[in-house]
């Protein structure tokens, strides 16, 4: 069975978001900006003014740094585009969403259902995962234009805030919904049934590591 395909605006209506189901394949139209740790720290911790009107221009935050260059004449070339793992950004996302009205968080690997229930759902937001990872060339084809790059001098090309115009950019997979359910956790639960079987006969390492015991007064032998 093929997944359902949906075209979605990067400034989506609440109804369009409510209609999304886990596992749907999404293609995006409109402006999307990249923001990861560099942008979050600069905007939220250093309190720099965000150089875009959010969310009116875009409600889509891509956890990405592209394979791109700035030409000597100031124009841009963007080759491939893929996401970086989102779980590391959980500490900034609640404040970011409150400040920017982001409704689509686009990245790699999703967040936990706890994150979804605590601050995605109350903000009317869902998570879209890139596919693969990563279909960088296909996503690159969906970039109609690079509109701007902000904070490049302060943060470098990889951490800068790139603003891209998407034209049927995709595929992305819907990884959370308005119930706060998590696609990846649903899949983990299905796989969990076979874990005991594949581990049968194996044994724990003779030398333990902290982490396998969180009690630092324990020994690891």
């Amino acid at each position: 069975m093929s997944p359902r395909e949906v075209r979605l605006s990067t400034t989506p209506t609440d109804e369009a978001i409510a209609d999304l189901q886990l596992g749907d394949v999404v293609y995006l139209d409109g402006l999307m900006y990249t923001a990861r740790e560099g942008v979050y720290m600069r905007a939220l911790e250093d309190k720099a003014n965000i150089p875009m009107e959010l969310p009116s221009q875009s409600a889509a935050n891509f956890h990405c740094s592209p394979a791109a260059r700035i030409n000597p004449d100031g124009s841009f070339d963007m080759g491939a585009v893929t996401a970086t793992a989102s779980f590391r950004f959980a500490k900034w996302l609640p404040e970011w969403m409150a400040k920017t009205g982001a409704k689509l968080i686009v990245g790699k690997g999703g967040m936990t259902s706890k994150d979804y229930k605590e601050y995605f759902v109350p903000n009317g937001a869902v998570y879209l995962s890139t596919v693969g990872y990563g279909t960088g060339a296909l996503l690159g084809r969906g970039v109609e234009n690079v509109e701007a790059v902000h904070w490049n001098e302060q943060l470098g090309l990889a951490q800068a805030m790139w603003v891209i115009k998407c034209n049927r950019m995709g595929p992305f997979i819907v990884a959370s919904d308005m119930n706060g359910d998590c696609l990846f956790e649903r899949e983990n639960a299905k796989i969990a049934e076979s874990v005991a079987r594949v581990y049968e006969g194996t044994k724990p390492a003779v030398l333990k590591r902290y982490g396998e015991s969180d009690d630092r007064t324990d020994e690891v032998i």
Partner: protein, 318 residues
Amino acid sequence: MIPINLVQSTAEVLMDKAAIEIPQDYLDGLQHAAKTEDGDLSSFVLKAMLENYDAAKEDRRAMCGDTGVPRWFVKMGNEARVEGGMVALEAALRRATANATNGVPLRPNRVHPLWRTDHDNNVGIGAPEIEYGFEPEGEWIDLITVHKGGLFGTDYRMLFPSDGIQGIKRFYLDSLMAFGKRGLACQPAIIGIGLGGSKDICMTLGKRASTLRIVGSRNSDPRIAEMEDEFKELGNSIGMGAMGFVGKNMVIDCNIEVGYCHTGGMPMSVHAFCLSSRRAVARIHADGRVEHRTDPDWFTDYQRRETVDWEPQREAAE
């Protein structure tokens, strides 16, 4: 004498090829996986990846937006000489890395670990890594570039002889489970396992097993080759596929490399070379001929030698 300009121009072509063209052995492996995959979502992912490889080649753009951390392996025949010597060669490889980062373009991933300084060209302290190997005969040099992803799918552990094969299996499965969920390892991948060596060499062996051996190759030790088959099968029986979705393709191949280690230990490392297995190879001959290929052919009998002296005739007779 190999001209230094030829080293740099060949290196730039290799940077481009590695980023854009999926190696044929990995493509064959993934096409086979796509045929056998029956998980709905996993199948969709593999199909999208196959389309992505075509798009990258058609458009001459990188396969993946994360173009990894470029590094070089240089293999030299014993009689090879490079114009300007090895310092010139290293400068040529650094220059080619910087030029191609801007030219392809690649993502300038390399930053200072503390100050996060980014030269926007993938060159910096210790970057790109340049490692060397030698072969008993020849006036050629092989340039091999690998742009491996850097964050997930790799782990190291000091095991001990009493852990045995079952302990090795467990750490292997732990690594696949830990980094396979949500697809952090960007599987299905070429899994490389390093066994033995000192701690740093254990990591090096595993990384080279994943990046410098092709899909379908087997270790020259038949018992290790059997383990490779068994471990591939084991990884694919977890029930986890691409992106951590339900599926049956986690491991495109499993390569194991060994080195002699401390008598009391059995160090082990696990590495995952991802869906965009970026590697490209060229041999530059002394007469200026350049031959491109995708098999690094790193692990020759000489690289795996066990004795003090290299005596090919005697080894051949055995």
